[in-house]
């Protein structure tokens, strides 16, 4: 849940993975803090060096005071959600494996990775782990067949990214598909609705086709991620790595909501004061559910 930076989580953050960082951020230990992943770019290039005072965050239109901003310092929970349906075969499957390997090879020591694959069956092939070799080995075993349950698979990946509970790592889901959903039980609306209760940011990588993968577009939009449309999987590894790099260059902005209801959907508006830059963040969060 977005607004649940509990004391335990804060202490874990401070005493655990972040301890080694030279610029350890100090998060508030208050229970109601809200974390928002924010990407700030200027003509496509990430903007560095912003401080809490640079951010203008409005929660349901109410200006908020930003407590803390961190950049490139918080470890990640990276979940690969990969379409292994029948259409992903031959070179495409090889490219997909290579792309997965490329991401895993660029993870930092404190990062965790997990692997979800989906055809009609959604499979958690690797739970979140810091042991990249374990995920690599699971990736190598992947074969393609069957239908495409991209909605079920994306949801499972988001749930896996959030599975550590009080873990304060930032959740990134890289979801790849080359087609539209054909067999999911979960519906787009229900998963999009549930995405409001999670911190995980979803990036979709879609092979362009006549079939519209509108669900992933919507999911990445709602979670503050992005969509990458490709014509060929030849450069898939570069695309995956670019997503990881972009995600690392996002700010994690924290504030304690004031003057707003403690329950329900909160619309967020995030800006950078006095600069003409592009800001990407989740559309809002669900509180008190």
């Amino acid at each position: 849940m977005t607004r649940q930076l509990a004391a335990a989580a804060a202490s874990m953050l401070l005493g655990g993975a972040m301890a080694a960082s030279p610029q350890t951020p100090t998060f508030s230990s208050r229970l109601e803090a809200v974390r928002v992943d924010v990407l700030v770019t200027d003509e496509g290039r990430p903007v560095r060096g912003l401080t809490p005072a640079d951010f203008d965050i409005r929660d349901e239109g109410m200006p908020q005071t930003v407590d803390l901003v961190s950049f490139e310092q918080i470890p990640l929970n990276v979940v690969l959600a990969l379409d292994v349906s029948e259409s992903v075969s031959g070179d495409r499957l090889d490219h997909l494996r290579s792309a997965g390997r490329a991401v895993l090879s660029r993870l930092a020591k404190a990062d965790q990775a997990g692997l979800v694959t989906f055809n009609q069956a959604v499979e958690i092939r690797a739970n979140l782990t810091r042991d990249a070799a374990q995920v690599l080995s699971a990736l190598d075993e992947v074969q393609s067949s069957g239908e495409t349950a991209v909605i079920d698979g994306s949801y499972a990946a988001m749930a896996l990214a959030q599975s550590a509970g009080a873990d304060v790592r930032r959740g990134l889901v890289i979801a790849f598909t080359d087609g539209a959903d054909t067999i999911s039980w979960l519906t787009p609306d229900r998963v999009l609705d549930a995405s409001r209760s999670t911190d995980a940011v979803v990036y979709g990588v879609i092979v362009r086709s006549r079939n519209k993968a509108s669900f992933l577009h919507e999911l990445s939009e709602r979670t503050g991620g992005g969509i990458v449309e490709i014509d060929s999987t030849k450069d898939l590894a570069e695309r995956f790595v670019a997503i990881l790099d972009e995600f690392r260059q996002r700010y994690l902005v924290s504030y304690t909501p004031r003057g707003v209801s403690s329950r329900g959907w909160h619309r967020l508006d995030v800006r950078v004061k006095g600069r003409k830059v592009s800001v990407k963040a989740r559309a809002g969060y669900l509180s008190g559910s």
């Binding site: 009609q120 499979e123 067949s145 069957g146 988001m158 749930a159 509970g165 054909t182 229900r190």
Partner: protein, 456 residues
């Protein structure tokens, strides 16, 4: 069913029947031998008729036997000429002195004059005599009844043979009778994984069988075999993921209030409303003149609802129609009515598969109506029925995510999702074909009953 096999999801294919228009009336006045000479000796039209009549009698219903192999050398236009020559056979059976023949093609205002060569006509007259005398001097029946019985024998045996040829083509992925000029054809669009994968044209054996049964006397619409044939083959086509709207339209034209046929037609529209079909049709390149009869999702759902309601009107205790009506109502946003319909279905369902579907669908409706606790309970019950099924687990997990309990959300799904996908079974994956799960037994039973009746 082995676990490995059960995990596979039936492929969907769409079929459109097209009877290629005759180029002109003139060719019908000639023998096809003269029309399309080929280096190898080809049978004349009457010889094809003779071969076909022998094959329908030799063929064992439901068997892949040598009688079916006869058609390996046939071309698709041979079947089209055969439809005319069967009509001629019946005319001569009824009136052995008849020598002038007209053939009326559906959609054409004027009949076509059909002229046979001398040898062709002589053989047709012989074949008609043999067909007329098949039941011997049965004094227990009037001449008219004997004629009807002999005519129906040809038609029904023919329909059985062509049903088996069509099934053989589907399961064996081969076609008997192809090449040559276009004739009676069915076009198939394969839709693996939501993509359209090429259009293939095969001999229209299903269409041939339907056309034969249309000719059953006194009236096809009152013939029990024809009714059962439509119901059983409709189930079979759906069981193998073959979506053939023409088949249902033709069946319902004859048997408009048959609960089974209405139910299967509802299932067809429900399937055609699914994203896999809708998406695939958006990307499909279909030549002009071929219509797979897939409407928009909204229209397909409306038609599905209408068919299920009609099925229930004909047979109020049709449990599966109720379950599917409930789901379709939910998809159409009619959650209150869907909830009501599915509640009775959950109460009445005894078969685990139907219990599973009813609980899963009712769970979704309770969720839509804001009753998360009952939804949770229903999903949990579905999960107990099929412990390795992922759908109720994902639904339970999603509810916990909505509650903000991520640890519980992960715990609800992870035990099942950690298992290898190809060893798990989720009935949801087979929902689009589950309605045909008894089709093979039903087809066998239909054939057994037919053989008993045919021997009389």
């Amino acid at each position: 069913m082995s676990k490995k096999a059960s995990q596979r999801v039936a492929r969907l294919v769409l079929t459109a029947a097209v009877c290629t228009a005759w180029p002109s009336a003139a060719p019908l006045a000639q023998s096809p031998t003269a029309l399309s000479p080929s280096p190898a000796k080809r049978l004349s039209r009457s010889e094809h008729l003779q071969e076909w009549l022998a094959a329908i009698d030799r063929h064992g219903p439901g068997r892949g036997d040598e009688a079916m192999g006869v058609f390996d050398s046939w071309r698709s236009d041979d079947f089209q000429y055969l439809t005319i020559d069967i009509d001629t056979l019946f005319l001569v059976m009824a009136d052995p002195g008849l020598r002038t023949f007209y053939w009326k093609q559906e959609g054409r205002p004027t009949p076509i004059h059909v002229v046979y060569s001398g040898p062709d006509l002589r053989l047709i007259v012989e074949l008609a005599k043999a067909a007329r005398d098949r039941s011997g001097e049965d004094t227990s029946a009037t001449p008219e009844k004997r004629f009807q019985r002999n005519r129906n024998h040809v038609l029904k045996r023919g329909a059985v043979l062509h049903t088996d040829l069509a099934i053989d083509a589907l399961i064996g992925d081969r076609t008997r009778g192809r090449g040559g000029p276009p004739g009676l054809q069915e076009f198939t669009l394969r839709l693996p994984d939501g993509r359209s994968q090429g259009l293939t044209a095969d001999v229209g054996h299903w269409e041939f069988a339907r056309a034969l049964l249309d000719k059953v006397v006194p009236v096809a619409a009152r013939d029990e075999f024809v009714r059962q044939w439509y119901g059983t083959t409709a189930a079979y086509l759906e069981a193998i993921g073959q979506l053939t709207p023409t088949h249902f339209n033709r069946g319902l034209k004859l048997f408009s209030d048959d609960a089974e046929l209405l139910f299967y037609a509802g299932c067809l529209h429900e399937s055609q409303a699914e994203p896999r079909i809708q998406e695939a049709m958006q990307s499909a390149v279909v030549p002009t003149g071929i219509n797979f009869e897939v409407a928009s999702r909204r229209t397909e759902l409306r038609d599905a609802e209408s068919m299920f309601r009609r099925a229930l009107k004909s047979q109020p205790d049709h449990l599966e129609a109720r379950i599917r009506l409930g789901r379709v109502l939910g998809l159409r946003g009619e959650h209150m009515e869907a909830d009501m319909v599915l509640r009775t279905a959950v109460a009445d369902a005894k078969e685990p598969l139907l219990q599973y579907y009813a609980q899963l669908f009712l769970g979704a409706e309770r969720e839509a109506l804001g009753d998360r606790e009952q939804a949770r309970d229903l999903y949990a019950r579905a999960a107990v029925l099929y412990p390795e099924a992922q759908s109720p687990r994902l639904a339970l997990s999603l509810l916990s995510t909505g509650d903000g309990n991520h640890t519980e959300a992960f715990g609800a799904m992870s035990p099942v999702l950690a298992l290898p996908g190809d060893s798990r079974m989720d009935p949801w994956w087979h929902y689009h074909v589950a309605q045909g799960r008894h089709a093979v037994e039903d087809l066998t039973a239909l054939y057994d009953r037919f053989l008993v009746e045919d021997r009389r």
